[in-house]
């Protein structure tokens, strides 16, 4: 954690109103973090042109999001943008780069190759089938290659995750909403357990079943019913 | 408090003692160190003490004149010249001998 942090949250929380202050601080820090994602351009292939160059170019301008400060040094980057196929030879290096990034660090996998191996999923003897086999990925942006706008949508999705799912009490732990669009009264708290369990031990997930069994899914159904009755 | 401090305001002797201490520290470094660069650094301390001495004496004995300042200036310039040549010799020796330990530099042929 940062120079100023470390044991700070624990100390502050002991004082009356400390928890509240931490929550406020969380909100401010998350806002700052989500708007200052300095990318590490991990481009290997065609997606690099679209994701790392076209997004930064004048027509799309990544700078609007405050993310144009592309750091060549890993230490200063917050966001690793994986664009392109990861082969076995590259995978350990990608892992190393990820390890070298300073917390908090985020990963976006863009394009089919980085998500699942994509075009090279079958009959290829080197391509890693998904960057998430090597590093934990926060947001997936599909496309082959995705449009720059699609990347921005992914960036917005990540920003949302950072704003809603982080606290300095437990640095380094991300909470991901399961769906890109959540109904209003479903809290992330309810989803947290579900997604953790899913990511930890399952390789195959039945999305519909999962959605129907969860307690928050009931709320979704109720909400829809209310909407359609009106 | 302030009166006591004011009474202890440093005179010439205090300044000169400071210079002597600095010079002695430089001497100590010069005597104990084996590394050529460290030796040069110790010599710098001694030269600095000497320059300080000049300025101190100028300040206390003839503040209207600047001869001490000029001499200190010369000392500084001499120090610079010394370090330039010294460092050049050190680097050249290192290239040839791969060492800068002066105890190994006891013969004339490179």
């Amino acid at each position: 954690m940062g120079v100023a942090l470390g044991k700070l949250p624990g100390i502050v929380e002991r004082f009356p109103g400390g928890a509240m202050a931490i929550t406020r601080l969380d909100a401010a820090i998350n806002l700052a973090r989500s708007n200052s994602l300095w990318p590490l351009m991990f481009g290997t292939k065609c997606c690099a042109i679209e994701m790392l160059m076209a997004t930064g170019a004048s027509h799309h301008d990544l700078a609007r999001f405050g993310a144009e400060v592309a750091r060549a040094s890993v230490r200063q980057a917050d966001l690793m943008v994986i664009a392109g196929a990861i082969v076995k030879k590259m995978a350990p290096r990608m892992r190393l780069l990820y390890e070298q990034m300073a917390e908090p660090r985020y990963v976006i996998a863009t394009g089919s190759c980085a998500i699942s191996g994509g075009p090279f999923m079958y009959n290829s003897y080197t391509v890693v089938r998904g960057a998430d086999e090597v590093v934990p990925v926060d947001v997936y942006v599909p496309g082959c290659p995705p449009r720059p706008e699609a990347f921005f949508w992914g960036l917005l999705t990540l920003q949302r995750m950072i704003r809603e799912g982080e606290t300095i009490r437990e640095p380094g732990i991300r909470r991901k909403p399961v769906m890109a669009a959540l109904p209003e009264d479903v809290s992330l708290h309810e989803i947290r357990a579900e997604i953790r369990a899913a990511l930890a031990n399952e390789n195959v997930i039945d999305v519909t079943q999962a959605a129907n069994q969860k307690p928050w899914a009931r709320k979704v159904r109720e909400w829809i019913q209310r909407a359609s009755l009106r | 408090m302030t009166e006591m401090l004011a009474r202890f305001a440093p005179g010439l002797q205090e300044w000169l003692v400071l210079c002597a201490v600095l010079y002695a520290i430089g001497l100590y470094g010069l005597l104990t160190r084996r590394n050529a660069i460290a030796l040069l650094m110790a010599a710098e301390i001694m030269l600095n003490a000497a320059a300080l001495n000049f300025v101190v004496l100028n300040r206390f004995t003839s503040p209207q004149l600047v001869d001490g300042h000029v001499m200190a200036l010369f000392v500084v310039v001499l120090a610079a010249a010394e370090i330039v040549v010294g460092m050049a010799i050190v680097v050249a020796l290192y290239r040839i001998r791969n060492t800068v330990d002066i105890s190994h530099m006891n013969y004339m042929k490179g």
Binding site: P92, E149, V207 | -
Partner: protein, 271 residues
């Protein structure tokens, strides 16, 4: 040194042919003063060019994506999301109106509302697909899997599930070109970012059943209803092909803070 660059055209014999070439040559280096002058003017001209762009706001070409979502128009042929064509236009229009109203009342985006509405008119999902599997054959990397079934009413092969894997699709348009029935199309959709890649597998057909014209030949509405069956979002197994790489620590989410230990090891191994 600033040289004069000359481009001279000439004919040259090459590989047994006469080729017309443009030769780039440089003159002799000019004198010192000329060099200094042209160097300075060259720098100034560059500065002038950039200053011109700074001064003219109309030169800014940026399209502000999240702000311009409402007006963003992709080209007609853009190869975005794959989807089924649903030729029942009347039902489509009715539904669009309903979604609009729903979105307005619940104050959400239209696509959110559309995603969540389940009870609806099935006729709008009648499709062109026969389940012939040409698209699956044409797909270079098996991003399409068509499950067929034996129809109860028509007793013929019909589509059960049309599974499309967005996470591996290479958007080459082969499936659309290969389709003899004009059943699928590529649309302009691209906002697909998710937190979990398992959500990138889609079931494109909403109804398991025969092609629209077979249904419409049937007069009896009850039989029509029995010919088709609702299909939701994809709920079956997703082939993720996940294998851990050898020599790599297993991926754990969330990352534990002890991951620094790997750093030194990995560095030692790689450098």
């Amino acid at each position: 040194m600033i040289h004069a660059i000359k481009v001279a055209q000439e004919e040259r014999l090459f590989a047994g042919k006469s080729v017309s070439v443009a030769v780039i040559t440089r003159g002799r280096p000019p004198g010192y003063l000329r060099v200094a002058f042209s160097a300075v003017t060259g720098l100034l001209r560059g500065l002038w060019l950039t200053l011109g762009y700074l001064w003219s706001p109309e030169a800014i070409v940026t399209r502000q994506y999240p702000e311009n979502r409402a007006t963003l128009q992709l080209t007609e042929r853009f190869r975005g999301n794959l989807r089924f064509k649903f030729p029942n236009e009347k039902a489509q229009e009715d539904h669009a109106a309903f979604i609009e109203q729903l979105a307005h009342e619940t104050q959400t985006h239209a696509h959110v509302a559309a995603d969540l509405v389940r009870e609806e008119n099935e006729t709008r999902w009648y499709h062109n697909c026969t389940g012939c599997g040409k698209c699956q054959e044409a797909c270079p990397n098996a991003s399409i899997k068509v499950f067929t079934r034996q129809g109860e009413i028509l007793e013929d092969r019909e589509v059960d599930r049309f599974v499309w894997r967005l996470d591996s699709c290479m958007f080459c348009n082969a499936c659309v070109q290969a389709c003899p029935w004009d059943a699928i199309e590529m649309t302009g959709g691209f906002e697909n970012a998710v937190y979990d890649r398992r959500l990138l597998v889609y079931n494109l057909n909403r109804l398991a059943g025969p092609r629209i014209n077979y249904i419409e030949e049937e007069e009896n509405p009850d039989v029509r209803k029995r010919m088709v069956e609702r299909r939701d979002r994809y709920g079956g197994e997703v082939p993720l092909n996940g294998f851990a790489l050898p020599n790599l620590p297993p991926v754990t989410t969330p990352m534990e803070s002890g991951s620094r230990a790997i750093d030194a090891d990995a560095q030692a191994r790689l450098t």
